[in-house]
Amino acid sequence: MIRVFGLFLIPAISITLLTGCWSTTELNELALVSAIGIDKNEEGEYVGSFQIINPGSVAGSKSTGQGTASPPVTVYTSTAKNLVGLSRNISAKASRRLYFAHTSVVVIAEELAREEGIKNLLDALDRDPEFRTTTAIIIAKNARARDLIKILTPIDQIPAENVIKMLKTNETMSGENINTKTRQVIDALSTKERDPVITGVELTREAEGGKLESIQQTEPESIIQVGGIALFRNDRLVDWAREKTARGIVFLLNKVKETDISIDWKGNEEAVVYNMIRQHTTVKPVIKNGKPEIDVHVKAEGIIGEVQVAIDLSNPDTLKRIEQEVNKEIQGELSKAIEKAKENKTDIFGFGESFHSTYPEHWKRFEKEWNDTYFSELKANIKVESFIRRTGLRNKPYLKDTN
């Protein structure tokens, strides 16, 4: 009997000691935050905008029976000197506790990133057990983060989700942006050997994007779109890279999945389109004559996507010429990207990191003046090998004037 009693007593006692997990919250006591926007006002305080999901108004989830159409998200704003304060001040306005585990985007205003830097913003995000460091981080280009947070989107009803999907699709389809996670930015900030890059997002037609009517038409009044890659020196935004330069950066980070490369053909501008379907870029640091150099090797594979001039694609020589043109094009993009980074003296590619791990003894010499001297004088040897796997469903174009 004593044994049986003891069997129940021991867990009963331990239960009182193990109260660490005691945090029951029903789902209808939580406000799911889908996106956070951070601005700065004239007084130097942070302005936080919290995009909170209204579960009942998101189509697909069962409506509670009330016919009133309310927007799928509600935005609350507050001001404070720090991020925790922002969240706390919301409680004066919102009926539920903010819950950050499902936050998918953090938007930082360009102005804030340029003038003050982002390093003070990330600690709270990193420290909070609820917040995920896999959350995407983006820069609101030429706009307040608050305005971006407010925009309603038509297809994916939750705007944050829409932005995430847009970034991901754009990343795989064009290779002109990268979906940067909070963790990656924190990692880049914590080392001198790499500088962060963050995708920018901009608003077109800054109108009444926060009203339900704006998405109740075939052409929404405001649209969020990808706006290039923001280059950071340490934690400050210094420059933007767009289109081909941006793609060069993504190539060098070996993050391109699919893209299409257009080449000129005998005076016809962008007449042949090479659909790259996979690639692999390796960056190898070398030291020649005591100076750091970098060997970039791109291996690309693709198919012919479009031909606007009459070329006989059944001829292997022609294919070889196309491949060479593609090589040239990619090489150009990579050089542009490297030039851009050198101009801004920001090692966004993490070349420093690879030098450090390959040549630890030389690195001590480079370390102090890496960004200012060595990186900006770095010689890059770019080699591209592209390969045409298929030419699509057609070999000879229907255009007849063969040349």
Partner: protein
């Protein structure tokens, strides 16, 4: 009556001696008298002259007084008529005179007249009464201080039918009946070997129920056989009406929801288990046969697993363990996820769940408890109700656990799904005994999930595992062959390896003679690929 007396016994120890005598219903232990009338009177008195007691005076002639006594309904009437009454009438020719001749007549009838297999001569009243009540016919002759006991047991029995609680797609269709003789014969027909030993004893002071233990001599562990025998002999209760009485009186551990004896209605299950060295306990009056010792994993094994091929059986066994886990922790997981670990659910799903919960006034745990209890009520009602009302319950039940409950705003649709999957899962475990124990523990899991989330579930799960490991069934560890590990027996646990790999019997159950098949049992294609016969 006896219960009343027993309560008294606790209050007053001194009277115990007298009371014990009454409680045990001692039958007269003295000898049969010579006087026929006296004997008949005695029977009438002790049976209270019950109306189903048939006393048939058989007067072969005027001098010899013979009387047959039997219980109507327990005997096979045609047998009594043809082989007892008729034979006696036709075969008594000589005119006996005096005591000696009557004695001679008794012997003659015993030896030549009664053409029935089992006939005994007895003189002790106690034995006589026990046999009378078992369906034997008594034949008294005046002036002979003995009684002839003729085996005429019979009467109405249920036919051998397909067991309703354990249906299989493939496999024999016979099931045990309420008659212990039939049941033993069903097993004997499967194991035609003289080493199949049967021991029968009477348990229950009032009911005098036949209980048999059946095992394979040479394969069953003798220590366990002895243990079973001792535990059965120790039973001293008024009645044994079902094998459940025996199960509860001989199990190792009473403070557990897990069954430590297996019960089945299928003779092939019993035969298979006896062949592995287990001991079957058969009880007269019930089709449920007990098997001991058992291990935990056995409750997930259906007899059909051995009839279908091993790959199919193995995957089905995995499925069963999965359904057991679902029936155990599915509602608990739902509670934990929605009240503690909202971060673990994909965003889209948590929005859907949150939207459903907007209208529900109760916390998730109350909601879950409400639905689970409702389901248990429905299940219980469904078992007890006559078939005619059954459909009413299912219609009303669909309202209670279904759309109507959701629309009334009492529960969320997700909860209905969780309760339904739990219900279905709990019925897909082959053994009802383990399913019902899971059903009980499920409520504990729900409570611990409501207080501590996943941590609580993990904690309770560890407790359950520890408890399972501590259980024994007749000394055999409940979790064997996993804990303690026996590699050569792992082939028949959650996996069911092919027959040619079943090289050894379960180690801990049978102790002798572990090898159970010859070498090279693995089948294969013929050595020559050509199917032509050489000329």
């Amino acid at each position: 009556m006896p219960i009343k007396i027993r309560q008294k016994k606790k209050r007053n120890q001194k009277k115990s001696q007298v009371e014990k005598e009454i409680r045990t219903f001692n039958l007269p232990d003295d000898e049969i008298s010579e006087n026929l009338k006296e004997n008949i009177e005695r029977i009438r008195k002790i049976t209270g002259n019950s109306s189903d007691l048939i006393i048939r005076p058989l007067k072969g002639n005027d001098i010899v007084n013979m009387t047959a006594v039997y219980i109507d309904g327990l005997v096979d009437s045609p047998t009594v008529n043809k082989f007892v009454v008729d034979s006696v009438f036709q075969n008594i020719d000589p005119q006996p005179e005096g005591k000696k001749d009557k004695q001679g007549l008794f012997e003659k009838i015993f030896a030549e007249v009664v053409s029935i297999g089992e006939v005994k001569q007895l003189s002790n009243w106690k034995d006589v009464f026990l046999l009378l009540m078992a369906g034997n016919t008594l034949l008294f002759i005046d002036d002979v201080p003995k009684v002839m006991v003729i085996d005429t047991r019979g009467g109405k029995k249920r036919n051998v039918e397909e067991p309703p609680t354990e249906v299989s797609i493939r496999g024999p269709r016979d099931g045990f009946t309420e008659s212990i003789q039939t049941n033993i014969s069903l097993i004997r027909r499967r194991i035609q070997n003289p080493n199949l030993w049967v021991e029968t004893m009477k348990i229950g002071n009032i009911t005098q129920t036949s209980v048999s233990i059946l095992y394979l001599n040479g394969i069953a562990n003798e220590k366990i056989v002895n243990e079973v025998r001792t535990r059965l002999k120790k039973i001293d209760v008024d009645s044994i009406l079902e094998s459940g009485y025996i199960e509860q009186l001989i199990e190792d551990q009473t403070l557990t929801t897990f069954p430590t004896l297996y019960h089945t209605e299928r003779p092939d299950t019993v035969a298979g288990n006896v062949l592995e060295g287990r001991i079957a306990i058969l009880v007269d009056g019930t089709p449920f046969v007990l098997l001991a010792p058992v291990v935990f994993i056995q409750f997930f094994q259906a007899v059909e697993d051995y009839y279908s091929r091993f790959d199919i059986s193995t995957s089905i066994r995995f499925l069963r363990v999965l359904t057991f886990m679902i029936s155990l922790i599915a509602p608990a997981l739902y509670i934990a996820v929605t009240t503690f670990h909202q971060e673990m659910v994909p965003t889209r799903l948590i929005i859907a769940l949150a939207a459903q919960r907007e209208a529900v006034p109760f916390p998730a745990v109350v909601e879950a408890m409400l639905m689970e209890v409702t389901f248990e009520i429905l299940r219980e009602a469904g078992i007890r109700l006559p078939k005619a009302i059954g459909s009413t319950v299912s219609i009303v039940g669909a309202l209670v656990i279904g759309q109507a409950a959701v629309e009334a705003g009492i529960v969320s649709p997700a909860m209905v799904i969780i309760v339904s999957i739990t219900a279905i899962a709990s019925f897909s475990t082959p053994s009802y005994a383990i399913a019902i124990s899971a059903r009980l523990i499920r409520f504990l899991f729900m409570l611990s999930a409501a207080t501590f989330g996943f941590y609580g579930i993990a904690l309770l799960f560890i407790f359950m595992l520890v408890h399972l490991c501590s259980l024994r069934s007749f000394g055999v560890p409940y979790m064997s062959p996993m804990a303690p590990l026996s590699l050569s027996n792992l082939g028949d646990t959650i996996v069911r390896s092919p027959f040619w790999a079943f090289k050894q019997r379960p180690h801990l159950i049978g102790n002798q003679n572990n090898k159970r098949q010859g070498e090279n049992q693995k089948p294969g294609p013929p050595a020559s690929r050509s199917l032509k016969t050489k000329k």
